[in-house]
Symmetry: C2
Subunit: 403 residues, 2 copies
C-alpha cells in the first residue's frame, strides 16, 4: 500500500513551502525552557504556488480578529501567504482588529507578492496589534528561507518546548508526498480546541473535498480529545495548506499521516500542559451512548480533584468515581469497574483497595503516562480523552503570565 516515514525537521521538508521567523522586540526572551536565545515573535509560511486551504477554528463565541478576517474570504479561496505573531491575540479588538490585519497586508505587499493572505495570532487578549513593530518584520524576513525551527519558535507563548513534526509518504507507484506541521499550545486547552495554533502543510495532490473531510476527522481524534484546564480560547486554529506540487496522493495514506501528525502534536501539547508531569488517557467504556461516554471522559480529564490526585500520585479512585457520578451520566456503583492500566482498582466485588493492589497502583502512577479505564457497565459506547496532572507550576505560570 504505502510506507510512512517520520523525518527530521518540520515544514522545511515540504516542497514549495518557505518559512521564517524574526524578533521585532515583542518577546524579551525565549519561551523554550532549555534555550537562552531570543525567539522570534513574527513569522510566515508561504508557498510559491497557490494553496488550497481548510481550517477548524475555536468554538469560543468571541472569535479573534484573524479568524473573522479569514472568514471574509469566499469559500474555496486560495492563498500563498500566512502571517503569524505571538504576544498579542488580536482578540476582543472589534472591527478595528480586522482592519489592522488588512493594513498590515497592504504594507507586506510592498515586500512580497501576497494573494489572499491569512493571519494568525496568539497572546494577550484585548489590545490592538502594534502595527509598527509587526510591520518592521517585513524587511527582516528571508522570504526564501526554509527555517521551520525559527517559525515554530516564533509562535510559542507559555510553551516549554517547540512543536514540529514531518512525515514522508512513499506510495507503491514510486511517487511520494510530504506532510508537516508546526504547533503551539500548553495551557487554556480544552476539548473543542484550545489556545492552540497548528499549521499543517503538504505537497500532496489532495482534492479540496478530501481536505475538508480528513481535517475534520483528524481534529476529532486529536485536538478535540485533550484538556489541560478546561478553558477554550478565542484564537484556536488548525489549518491545512496544500500546494499539490508533488503530484502524488493516496487518500488512505494521507488520512493515516494527518491523523498521526495531529494526534502526536496534541499529545505534545498535553506533555507541555503548563506545569504538567503526567499524560493520562481517560477511557470510558460501557456507556449508555456515545454522548454519555464523551461527557464522563471529559469530566475526568477536567476535574481539579482528579488532576491534583494524579500530581500527588495518590491512587484515590474515590475521586474518579465521584467525578463520574457528578457528571450526570447514567451509572450504578454495582456495575462500575475502574482499572489503572491493567490493574483492577474498583469493582462491586472488590470495593476496598487492599495494600497489595494499592502498592501496584503506586507503581503505575509513578509513570509519566498511563490509562484510567472506567467501565460503566450500562451500554456499549466508549470514548477516550486525554488529560494531565495539575501542579504548583500551573498556578505559578498562570498567576504570572502577562505581568
Amino acid at each position: 500500500m504505502f510506507n510512512l516515514f517520520s523525518i527530521k525537521g518540520g515544514i522545511d521538508n515540504v516542497e514549495g513551502f518557505f518559512c521564517d521567523g524574526v524578533n521585532v522586540g515583542m518577546k524579551k526572551k525565549s519561551a523554550d525552557a532549555e534555550s537562552s536565545h531570543i525567539d522570534g515573535d513574527v513569522a510566515f509560511i508561504r508557498s510559491d504556488v497557490l494553496c488550497d486551504v481548510t481550517a477548524r477554528f475555536t468554538t469560543n463565541k468571541f472569535q479573534a480578529a484573524p479568524i473573522k478576517h479569514y472568514q471574509k474570504y469566499p469559500k474555496d479561496f486560495q492563498t500563498n501567504f500566512l502571517l503569524m505573531n505571538a504576544k498579542n491575540a488580536n482578540a476582543m479588538t472589534g472591527e478595528q482588529g480586522v482592519k489592522d490585519i488588512d493594513m498590515l497586508f497592504v504594507e507586506l505587499a510592498k515586500y512580497h507578492e501576497v494573494y489572499n493572505p491569512i493571519m494568525s495570532s496568539t497572546g494577550v487578549i484585548g489590545y490592538r496589534l502594534n502595527q509598527e513593530k509587526i510591520a518592521s518584520a517585513f524587511s527582516k524576513f528571508d522570504y526564501n528561507a526554509k527555517n521551520s525551527d525559527n517559525t515554530a519558535r516564533s509562535i510559542m507563548t507559555t510553551d516549554q518546548f517547540k512543536k514540529e513534526l514531518a512525515f514522508r509518504i512513499e506510495l507503491d507507484d514510486g511517487s511520494s508526498f510530504t506532510i508537516a506541521a508546526i504547533c503551539k499550545g500548553a495551557g487554556m486547552i480544552n476539548p473543542a480546541m484550545a489556545t492552540m495554533l497548528c499549521f499543517v502543510t503538504t505537497d500532496a495532490n489532495i482534492p479540496k473535498a478530501d481536505m475538508e473531510e480528513l481535517l475534520g476527522e483528524a481534529t476529532e481524534q486529536s485536538f478535540n480529545r485533550i484538556s489541560v484546564d478546561g478553558d477554550t480560547s478565542t484564537n484556536d486554529t488548525l489549518m491545512l495548506l496544500a500546494n499539490k506540487v508533488s503530484g502524488a496522493y493516496n487518500k488512505e495514506a494521507f488520512r493515516e499521516a494527518l491523523n498521526k501528525i495531529t494526534f502526536e502534536l496534541a499529545m505534545m501539547i498535553l506533555r507541555d500542559g503548563e506545569g504538567a508531569n503526567k499524560l493520562v488517557a481517560f477511557e470510558v467504556t460501557g456507556a449508555k451512548n456515545e454522548q454519555e461516554a464523551i461527557t464522563a471522559s471529559r469530566a475526568l480529564s477536567n476535574s481539579l480533584l482528579v488532576k491534583t490526585a494524579l500530581f500527588g500520585e495518590d491512587p484515590n479512585w474515590g475521586r474518579i468515581a465521584s467525578t463520574i457520578g457528578a457528571s450526570g451520566v447514567e451509572c450504578d456503583d454495582s456495575k462500575l469497574s475502574i482499572h489503572y492500566d491493567n490493574l483492577l482498582i474498583y469493582s462491586n466485588e472488590q470495593r476496598e483497595l487492599d495494600k497489595e493492589r494499592e502498592a501496584q497502583a503506586y507503581v503505575i502512577m509513578k509513570n509519566s503516562s498511563f490509562k484510567v479505564t472506567c467501565d460503566l457497565g450500562i451500554g456499549t459506547a466508549s470514548y477516550t480523552s486525554y488529560g494531565c496532572d495539575l501542579s504548583y507550576e500551573y498556578v505559578k505560570i498562570n498567576a504570572e503570565y502577562r505581568t
Copy 2:
C-alpha cells in the same frame, strides 16, 4: 415585624437540642490551622423531643450510604438523633455501607434511646466505616452536653476554621425562637452542592410544608451558588431539624433567618476554599434568559484561568471575556461590558485597558473580596455566583490529602 439577632455559639443556643463530639483515634490532629488540640471525629446532635426533618442531598449519582439510609425512611418521618463522623465518607460502599449504619444504630441504642436515627459522613471514599472505632464513641459521648464547638470541629476535614452560626428571632408578640447551624466544607465545592455538610437546628414551631419550601429557597441562594473547584461530592447534605419546642413562629422571619444563616455559611466555605485568599462575586446581567445567566456566571466561578488570574491579582479581563465566550451563551463583544466593582474594565468604546484604569483595577483586586459584573447586553436576565482564587495551597492540599 420582628428582630433578628446574631448570637454567640452554635446549636447549643437552640432549646431542646444537645450535641457533643469526641475523638476515637481516626483524626490524628486538628484540622483547624490555628488550633493545636485534637479534634473529635465522631459527633451527634439530638433533640429531647422528636424533630421534623427535611434535607437536600448531593446531585452526584453515586450518593453515599448515609444518604441512601436516610431515604429508606418514610416521607415525613421524625427523628431524635443524628450521628456524624469525619475521615470516612462511607461512599461507594454498596449495600454493605447501609447495613453498617444500621449495625451502628443497634449498638448506639444500648447507650441512648434513638428513634429513626440519621447518619452523616465525610472523608475518604471507598472504605467501610470502622465499626469498632465509631462505636467506641457511644460510651464517651456526654448525651446531655450542649457542646456545639466540639460538634462543629468533629466534622471538619480540610477546613481551616470551624463554621457555626446562630440567630435569635424576637417576634412582635414577645415570643421568640432560635435557629443555628454547624457546617463543614472547603474543597470539592460546586454549584448543586459539594462536599459540604450543614445541619440547621431550630426550636421554631415551623410547619413541615414551610420547612420544605424555605429550605429549597435557602439552598438556591446560598450553597447552590458557590464553587471552589467544580467538583460535586457523593455526600453533600443540608439538613433542617425542627423540634418546635419554643412554640414561636413567623414565616417571613424564619425565611430571612434561614437565608441569612445558609448564605453566610456558604461564604464561610468559600473563604475557606482550599488555599483560597479572595472571595469574588460573579454577576452576569443582560443575559438572554436565566439559564444563560447561570451558565455564564458559573463558567466564570469555575474557570482555572480566571481563578489563577485572581490569585495573581492580574486585571486580565481577556480571560473573563474568553470564558464568557467559551461558555456558549449568546454574546457579542460589541454589546459586552465588564466592571470590577464600579470600575469599567471593558466596553465596546473602551476596549484597551489604559494605565490609569489598570492601576485602579489593581487596587480593587488587592481586596479580599470584590465583584466582577459582566453585562452581556442581550436581554434582561441576571444571576450571581460566588467563587475564589486558586493558589499553590489548593494544589498542595489536594495532592497530599489522604496520604
